[in-house]
Amino acid sequence: AQKVTQAQTEISVVEKEDVTLDCVYETRDTTYYLFWYKQPPSGELVFLIRRNSFDEQNEISGRYSWNFQKSTSSFNFTITASQVVDSAVYFCALSVANRDDKIIFGKGTRLHILP
């Protein structure tokens, strides 16, 4: 069965600190996709990134970076020099093409950036 675990329910850091959100996934399939979505206090869901299982290259986008490690089944998300606007709930998700084609979300990590 597929599963996404975000062990950190809630994190608080002071502005300008770096913070890493953990995501551990489970699947027996070799072809899958991983996602991160952001849900700010306003409630909408914003797509951040998608990675496929064959591309373990880490990605950086501005202050955001993602570390994909198949050996540990992790897809962690780091925000560098955090800002108050980064305060949100962040969801990690997994999609496996061969298993009912569902996307499975983790329970989310609520991130508070304190001024």
Partner: protein, 117 residues
């Protein structure tokens, strides 16, 4: 321009009523979805439609019925509302011709907060 829109944004109603939530996307996407987010923020897919055809139909009560008049619209009808239906419902769309591969990124609507009293 709003990419994925939902109406209404808030919906308060009494148990037993029938209500609908509308969703429209102007992205030209082929696939649309409905998700339910409960009070603990857990997101779960309910349905997906590809070009007006139902692709995914998760285990949801049959009081929930999606209706897709065209590929830009996917409405959610809920009959005989119950207290447990209170949640935020998100519509989403993605550019996926098959409707079966959920790996394309999805664009979400703003959500509809449904409160059943």
């Amino acid at each position: 321009d709003t990419a994925v829109s939902q109406t209404p944004k808030y919906l308060v109603t009494q148990m037993g009523n029938d209500k609908s939530i509308k969703c429209e996307q102007n992205l030209g996407h082929d696939t649309m979805y409905w998700y339910k987010q409960d009070s603990k923020k857990f997101l779960k897919i309910m349905f997906s439609y590809n070009n007006k055809e139902l692709i995914i139909n998760e285990t949801v009560p049959n009081r929930f019925s999606p209706k897709s008049p065209d590929k830009a619209h996917l409405n959610l009808h809920i009959n005989s509302l119950e207290l447990g239906d209170s949640a935020v419902y998100f519509c989403a769309s993605s550019q996926d011709e098959s409707g079966r591969a959920l790996w394309p990124e999805q664009y979400f609507g703003p959500g509809t907060r449904l409160t059943v009293t």
